[in-house]
Each structure stands twice: as structure tokens, then as C-alpha cells.
């Protein structure tokens, strides 16, 4: 089984969704640190190690959870940018959205998303999602060396 990621980067602008996800990860006893940023620009700043995110204290994430609807730069734009980067392009990205519109799902895969999840309806389902996410991405999947 693969090594556990040290950091999960959560890109989510909705405070309530971010809170539910962070709570769910806590309940699922995910040992990784969840770093939450609220928009695409901040995600790019974190990933490039721009201030205030120095790499020593803020290591690259083992996986990214990326909301699609974000202020300014959308999740799609962040994904497209990421897959174009020399070193960062291999980081697995799981897209998150409120509704699985086929157009959005297809676009996400076309841009190189590893997986696409729909945000659950209630806290209990968020915990289920966090458990399945933990078991698959943090235990079974082998992350690339970035």
C-alpha cells in the first residue's frame, strides 16, 4: 500500500463545504494535514511556493481536492495550469462539485483530472466520502514522486 500523503490541498471557496470536509476528514482520522485555500490564485501560490507559502513549512500536497466553481480563476483553469507545469503536473487531482453535469465531468477528465466527486448532501455522507477518499487515495494509490 502506498505511503500516506503529508498534506492534502483543499481548494474550496464555500466556507460551509470546506468546514464539512475538514470535519469529515477529522472524523475519518485522516492523518494528513488539510491545507485549505479559498480560490484558484491562492492554490497556485501554494503550489509554486509563493509567499506566504514557503516550501519548508508548506510541502507540496500528495493530492489536491479542487472545487470547480471558484471566484476568479476556476478549478478548470487551475487544473489546466497544473498539468502544464514541469514538476507539479503529476500531482493527482480530485475534482469536487455540487452537481455532476456531464459537460463539467467530461471537461474535467479532458483536462486531466484523476477523479470527479459530487459533494454530498449531509454531514454523514461527507464522512463516508472522506473514508472512501482516505482508503483509496491515501492508502491504496501510489503517488508519483513530485
Amino acid at each position: 500500500m502506498g505511503p500516506l500523503a503529508e498534506v492534502i490541498l483543499l481548494v474550496e471557496d464555500e466556507p460551509s463545504d470546506a468546514h464539512l470536509l475538514q470535519r469529515a476528514f477529522q472524523k475519518a482520522q485522516v492523518p494528513a494535514r488539510i491545507v485549505r485555500v479559498a480560490d484558484g490564485d491562492e492554490a497556485m501560490a501554494y503550489l509554486t511556493g509563493a509567499a506566504p507559502w514557503n516550501r519548508k513549512e508548506h510541502p507540496l500536497p500528495g493530492i489536491i481536492m479542487l472545487d470547480i466553481k471558484l471566484p476568479r480563476r476556476s478549478g478548470f483553469e487551475v487544473l489546466e495550469w497544473l498539468r502544464d507545469q514541469d514538476v507539479l503536473r503529476r500531482i493527482p487531482v480530485v475534482m469536487l462539485s455540487s452537481s455532476p453535469l456531464p459537460h463539467d465531468v467530461n471537461r474535467a477528465y479532458d483536462l486531466g483530472a484523476n477523479s470527479y466527486l459530487t459533494k454530498p448532501q449531509n454531514p454523514g455522507e461527507f464522512v463516508q466520502l472522506a473514508c472512501a477518499f482516505r482508503d483509496y487515495w491515501l492508502c491504496a494509490n501510489v503517488d508519483p514522486v513530485v
Binding site: 500500500m1 502506498g2 503536473r89 503529476r90 493527482p92 455532476p100 456531464p102 465531468v105 467530461n106 474535467a108 477528465y109 479532458d110 486531466g112 484523476n114 477523479s115 470527479y116 466527486l117 459530487t118 466520502l129 472512501a132 477518499f133 482508503d135 483509496y136 492508502c139 491504496a140 494509490n141 501510489v142 508519483p144 514522486v145
Partner: protein, 155 residues
Amino acid sequence: MTDKRSEPGIILLVEDEPTDARLLMRAFQRAGVQNPVRHLPRGDTALAYLRGLPPWDNRSEYPLPILMILDLKLPGMTGLELLCWLRQQRQLRRIPVLIFTSEKDESYMGPAYDAGANSYLLKPADSAEIERVVDLIKNYWLALNEAPLVVGPAT
């Protein structure tokens, strides 16, 4: 969540080791996975299946997969070559591909992710572990993940 259609999509397993293939197929059965698993032992044969070449030219009988489990070391065409080809096909490129291999080395893993692998799994050592991995595939890829729409070329 994706609605469950009456006909569950097929899983394409491309694996040349007969023992690994048998253990995987049995694990899918034991896990109660409804999706039919089609096993092909060669890379070039899998390519022919995906292209819908004879004897697989009848798409209703040989449908496109909703998920692929792909070994890397394969006769005919490597898993990496097949993946690279797949990601360039306008109609097939979105099919999620899980690499399933014994190759731990970065020289295999990096290029697989670069070529567009959705996930990279190491072949477990024993059958109990294979059943565990299959359970995870079922719970994640078949239950939670939103699958892309894959429309094949008209045949």
C-alpha cells in the same frame, strides 16, 4: 451520484499473468460487482477491442469499458503505449485507467502519470490483499466517482 443503469458498464482488465487475472476476476465476483469484467491478455488485443476491430466489431456485444485496469508489462504493446494511444483518441480518451502493476520504480510510475493514468496501484502479494484492492476499486471507482461519458465511434 451516477444513476445506476439497468446494464452496468463493463470493466476491461488487461493483464497477461493468468494467475493475477484469475485472482482479480474472482475478487470482483466475490465483491458482488455487477459490472461484467472482460479480460484480455495482450496490449495489442486490448487496442483492437477498444477500436472495435473484428471480432469485437459489435459494440452492443462488446461495449466500451467504463473503467480499465491495465498492467504495464504486456505482450504486443505495453500498458504505457496503450495508455498514450488511448489519451489521444477523441472518443475514448476519458475512460478512467487504473494502472495495476508490480513495478514500484519511479521510472514506470512517472511516465504512467504523465501519460494520463488516473491511478497507480501496486499488485499485492497475496489473494486476500487482491480482494481488498478490488473492494477499494468497487467502493471508490464504481460507487463514488462520477464517470465520464464515453461515446465510441460508430460501428
